[in-house]
C-alpha cells in the first residue's frame, strides 16, 4: 500500500493493548473476586434443590429459577421475626447514638472547656477498642442490668461503639461549618444552646444524615454481641439467626441460607452505595488534609 502510516497509527495499537493489560484484565479479576460471591449467592438462592445438588449440571447458572428457598425462609424459619428485631435494634440504637453523639460532637468542635481534649481523645480510643475485647464481661454487665437474653441488651450496648463513631464524625463536620451564623444569633440574644439547636444542627443535617445511616448499618451488621448477649431464637438478629438456625451440626440448608444472606444484605447495600464516599472521608478526616 502506498498510503503512508500516520505516526499515531503504529502507536495506536499499543495504548489499546496497554489498556487491556493494565486496566480491563485487572478490573475483570477484581470484579470476579469481589462481586463473584454475590452472584453465587443469588444463583444459589434461586435454584431448586433438584438443580442445586446435581453434580451433572453446570453450577454457574439457573435453568429453572424458583422462589422455594425464600418461601422456606418465611414459612419454616423465624426470618420475619429476626428482620423485625434487627430493624428495631438498629433504629433505636441509632436514635440513641445520634441524640448523644451529635451534641457531644458539637461541644468538642465549638466549645472550649477544661478536659475537652482529653474527652475527645478518650472517645476516639473507645472507637478503636474492638468488641471482641469486651463481650465476655458484657454478658455479666447485661445480667446485672436484667437485660440478658433480650434485644434490649443490644439496644443498650450498640451505642457503646456507635456513639464514639458519631461523635468523632460530627465534631469533624461541625468544624467545617463557619461559626459566624451562631455568633450573630447570640448577638441577637440566643443562648449557646439555642444557637446550637436552631442554627448549627439544621446546618449540619447532611452530616447527621450520613452519620445516622452509617450507625444504622453498623448495628444492622453487628455480630459478636448479637451472638453472645442474646440466645433465645425469637430475639435474634438476621446475621445470627441465619447463621445459627440454618447451619445445624453437619446439615446446612444452603438454599434458604443464601436466600437469607441475600435478603439480609439488600437493605444495607442499597442504603450504603449512596453514602460510602462520605463514610470513608469521615473515617480518615484529618489524615486526608495531611
Amino acid at each position: 500500500m502506498s498510503t503512508k502510516l500516520q505516526p499515531g497509527e503504529i502507536r495506536g495499537n499499543s495504548p489499546r493493548m496497554e489498556r487491556w493489560l493494565f486496566f480491563y484484565i485487572p478490573m475483570g479479576f477484581a470484579l470476579f473476586f469481589l462481586v463473584g460471591p454475590f452472584y453465587w449467592m443469588l444463583i444459589t438462592a434461586l435454584k431448586p434443590d433438584s438443580e442445586l445438588y446435581d453434580g451433572a449440571k453446570s453450577p454457574l447458572y439457573v435453568a429453572n429459577p424458583s422462589l422455594d428457598h425464600f418461601r422456606f425462609l418465611f414459612e419454616k424459619t423465624e426470618f420475619v421475626t429476626w428482620t423485625w428485631n434487627t430493624m428495631m435494634v438498629a433504629t433505636l440504637s441509632t436514635a440513641i447514638a445520634l441524640a448523644m453523639g451529635v451534641p457531644a460532637g458539637y461541644a468538642l468542635a465549638r466549645l472550649r472547656f477544661r478536659g475537652s481534649e482529653l474527652i475527645g481523645t478518650a472517645i476516639f480510643v473507645t472507637y478503636l477498642v474492638p468488641s471482641s475485647l469486651l463481650f465476655i464481661p458484657m454478658v455479666e454487665v447485661m445480667a446485672q442490668l436484667h437485660l440478658d437474653d433480650s434485644i434490649w441488651a443490644l439496644v443498650v450496648v450498640y451505642p457503646t461503639f456507635l456513639v464514639p463513631f458519631v461523635t468523632w464524625l460530627m465534631s469533624g463536620y461541625f468544624r467545617t461549618i463557619p461559626s459566624e451564623l451562631e455568633d450573630c444569633a447570640r448577638i441577637d440574644g440566643m443562648t449557646r444552646l439555642g444557637a446550637m439547636w436552631r442554627i448549627a444542627i439544621p446546618l449540619a443535617r447532611p452530616g447527621i444524615l450520613s452519620a445516622g445511616i452509617f450507625a444504622f448499618t453498623l448495628s444492622w451488621n453487628e455480630f459478636i454481641y448479637a451472638l453472645t448477649l442474646v440466645t433465645a431464637s425469637a430475639e435474634r438478629t438476621i446475621p445470627v439467626g441465619v447463621l445459627v438456625q440454618l447451619t445445624r451440626a453437619d446439615f446446612y440448608f444452603w438454599g434458604p441460607l443464601m436466600a437469607g444472606a441475600l435478603l439480609g444484605s439488600v437493605p444495607v447495600a442499597i442504603v450504603y452505595s449512596f453514602f460510602v464516599d462520605q463514610y470513608a472521608s469521615g473515617l480518615t478526616a484529618g489524615a486526608v488534609k495531611g
Partner: protein
Amino acid sequence: MSATVTPVPTRRRGLVWLIDNERSLGYLLVAPVVILMLGLVAYPFCVAVGYALTDRTLADPGVFVGLDNFIDLFDNQIYLQTLRNTVIFTAGSVAMRLVFGVGLALLLNEHFRFRRLIRSAVLLPWIVPTVLGTMAWLWMFNPNFSVLNWMLVHAGLMKDGFNWLTNPDLALFCVTLVNAWRGTPFMAITVLAGLQAIPQDLYDASAIDGANKLQRFRFVTLPLVMPVLLTALVLSIIWTFSDFGIVYGLTKGGPMNATQVLATLSFQQGLAAGNIGEGAAISLTMLPVLLILIIWQLRRIRRSTVA
C-alpha cells in the same frame, strides 16, 4: 430619638447560665457520652480484668489467682498456636488488602464507562453484614459442591479440587483470603479519596520535569497518599487482629485449631466452655498490640491537626 437601653444583667444565673456558659454547656453536652463510656466500656473492661485474675467459670465465681491465667497461657500449646495463627491471619490479610486495595484504587481512579456502578459493586463485600457475606464463601468452599473446585476441574487445572476448609494450612489461607476480600474495598475507597485529593498541577509539573509514569507514582502519588494509606492500614490491622465473625462463620477455629484466632479462642474458652477467667485473659492479651496501634494513630492525628 431616645434609645431605650434594656439593662443587660452582668451575671445570669440558673438555667440560662447553664445553657449559655461555654464551660457548663460543654460539660452538659458531653456528660451523657462520658457516662455511657464509663458505664459500658470502662466498667466492663475492669470487670474483664477482674475475671482474668480469677479462676471463675460459668458455674463457680472462683477465687483470685493473680497472673496464673496469663502464665498458664504461655505453656498452652493451643494458645501459642492461636497466637501464631492470629499473626499470620493479620499480616496475610493486611498485605493482601494493601496490594489489592491500592491496585483497585488506581483502577477506579481511571476514566471508564459505568464508573459509578462498578465503584458501588466492588464495595459490596465491605457493605453487607460480614457474616452473611462469609456464608457465600462457606458455600463456595463446600467439600461436595464447591464452585471453585468445579471451575478448577472443568478448566482442566486439577483432577479433584481442594479440601478448602478441612486441610489445616489451606483453611488458614481461606479465612485470611475472605478477610482480605471483606477489607479490600475499604482500603480501595480510602486510598481513592486520597488520590483524588492530589492536585493535577503536581503531575503536570513533574511531567514537565521529565518524570515518567513510574517516577510520578513514586515521587508524587505515593508520598501524598501516604497519610490516608497509613490511617486505613492502622484501622485494617486493628479490625483484622480482633476479627471474630469471619473465622467463626467459616471454621469456628477448626480443623483442630488450625484457624483459631484470639477472638474465637476467647469465645470458645470463655463462653462455650465456660472458663470465664481464662477466656477473659485470652482476650486481654490482644491489648498490648491494640494499645501500640491506638497510641501511634493518636499521635499521627495530633500531628496532622496541629500542622
